[in-house]
């Protein structure tokens, strides 16, 4: 929420992703957005709206039969160099991923290898991208990232099942920031967690962003959560970005009816909105009526 926008780190133009099934389905349609350095961009939408597909396609992690049908994805490196992501070949892409742009997947806390220690998994990731690192450096870096996400470095020797859900999620975030990427894409990183743990992790993400100045794309269906943590929010409906605005702007003055509907779907914790559920009388105009038309 800075006054002058930071330089862009990722530009997506006119991106279309199609699933090549019998009747090809357009999962993402002409999506365009610019991610600024150090920004938290929220991507909101309901199941099947294409938000996860979009996130995967940006990283070219989508799997066939999904394919990028059109568009441009440009990464603006800190060095000033522009990288056309669609033009990268497989080897370049592997080098690019995780190093410049990392992902925390949905349900990632169950994505840790159950038979490897946290140390082994951090080491494998590090050595895959920095083959010349010494053992000491690897150990030092691993301890550092764990400390950063608020996990005791003594946990390096633990196996995933010895950690709680929140702890595993932190380890996944630590893994995502291992190589100091400039962008982190997080797909529902806290959905499976309890609110208190979720709050701790959100706090950690915001703090790390402030310290390390990476940009975050935060994908979730939980609009109130996005309103709290993001600088800007994009709302997706049926594969299209229907609205993109600052969090405050979106909350106060949503333009698209779908955004308003989404906002109205969350009763307010401390405010009066939502009180009609109990009484059956809708006290505020604009909130959804009992049944959708």
């Amino acid at each position: 929420m800075t006054a002058t926008p930071a330089p862009p780190v990722l530009t997506v133009e006119d991106l279309t992703v199609v699933y090549e099934v019998d009747e090809p389905v357009t999962a993402v349609r002409n999506a365009g957005l610019t991610l600024h350095r150090g920004e938290i961009l929220g991507l909101a939408g309901e199941s099947g709206c294409g938000k996860t597909t979009l996130a995967y396609a940006v990283n070219r992690l989508h799997r066939p039969p999904a394919r990028i049908a059109s568009g441009r994805i440009t990464f603006h490196d800190r060095s000033g160099e522009d990288v056309d992501l669609l033009a990268l070949d497989d080897r370049e892409l592997r080098a690019f991923r995780w190093d410049k742009l990392s992902m925390v997947f949905q349900g990632a806390m169950n994505a840790l290898n159950p038979v490897g220690t946290v140390r082994a998994q951090l080491r494998d990731t590090l050595l895959a991208h920095r083959p010349r690192m010494s053992r000491k450096e690897v150990q030092g870096r691993s301890e550092e990232v764990l400390r950063r996400v608020g996990v005791d470095p003594r946990r390096l020797g633990s196996y995933p099942h010895e950690l709680s859900g929140g702890m595993r999620q932190r380890v996944m975030i630590a893994m995502a920031m291992l190589l100091e990427p400039q962008i982190m894409i997080m797909d529902e990183p806290t959905t499976a967690l309890d609110v208190v743990v979720q709050r701790d992790i959100l706090r950690e993400i915001v703090r790390l962003r402030d310290e390390l100045d990476f940009a975050v794309v935060f994908i979730t269906h939980d609009l109130p959560l996005l309103l709290e943590i993001s600088d800007r929010i994009a709302v997706m409906l049926d594969g299209e970005i229907v609205e993109l605005d600052t969090a405050a702007g979106l909350y106060r003055d949503a333009k698209h009816p779908y955004t308003r509907k989404l906002l109205g779907s969350f009763p307010s914790l401390s405010g009066e909105r939502g009180a009609f559920i109990r009484t059956g009388v809708d006290q505020t105009a604009g909130a959804p009526t009992e049944e959708r038309a």
């Binding site: 099934v21 099947g48 996860t52 066939p64 999904a66 394919r67 033009a87 990268l88």
Partner: protein, 337 residues
Amino acid sequence: MTNLKPANTTPVADADPAAPAAPARSGWRSLLPTMTPWLAIGLALVGGIVLFGLIAPLLVGDPRQIRDQGLTPPSAEFWLGTTQTGQDVLAQLAFATRGSLQIGLLVGVLATVLSAFFGIYGAYRGKFLDDAFSLFTNVFLVIPGLPLVIVISGFVPRESRGLWTIAVVLAVTGWAASARVLHAQTLSVRQRDYVAASQVSGERPWRVIVVEILPNLLPVIASQFVFAVIAAILGEAGLSYIGLGASNSATLGTMLFYAQNGFALSLGAWWWFVPPGLMIALFGTGLSLVNFSIDEVINPKLKNLRQHRRRARRALRLERELARASRRTAAVKETDR
């Protein structure tokens, strides 16, 4: 990696009363495998052999009739030639096929009933009963099947060693593995909320098992039934071949036993041992093909695998073209500068 499903499978709208009414479909139909060339071949083989076993014995002559035309090759009179003692091989094959099918069916039904009872009921009831049933199943699982069958068959005096005896022996030694699988499947189905929901609704236990759980296990049970039939026919053939088969019945195994005793192989009388051997092999093949199709019902992923691969290749090709085009434009820009 959750969003690999095409977006169109996700229902987007909730209250959608205007949606066209789907045709009423019963759950039973979803249990039928889709027709594929392999399934068609399998069904044709099984159907053909079953028909042969049912009808042919009515048309051929007495298989035991002894003639003085020993070991004649196939001819117009005897389509499959004769045995050492001049018996018609075709007639023998017809009755032997019927005998083997009888054994297969009998054992298939017995083993399936046993495995369903111990596997499903134990898993559903849980606690002590489950432990007891599991122990019992495990004991039968580790008993070496064939040696036990040989011992039991050898122990039963030849006169009383009928079709039923053999069937029971084969079923008793063959149900345990299926019971383990059903046990695991039932445990997983029992965990589902819809089972809990029907219990909360007040359904009686037997109804929960039969109406709510069993239909979801049917593909597994069907697959195991088919497997049990194959195993029984092969097992019986093995027993008969070593002379421990049912005394008063003719099966494909006994045919092979007599062919072996009559030195069919060394005398070059291929028409004597090839038909029963081929019959067993073809029937096994047919049932296996049917079984693969049932597997696709159990695991729908298998069904879509080939189609999925084709689509993936197409998507990949189209995307490569896009990448190449974008590299070209990048190169052009570079030279422009």
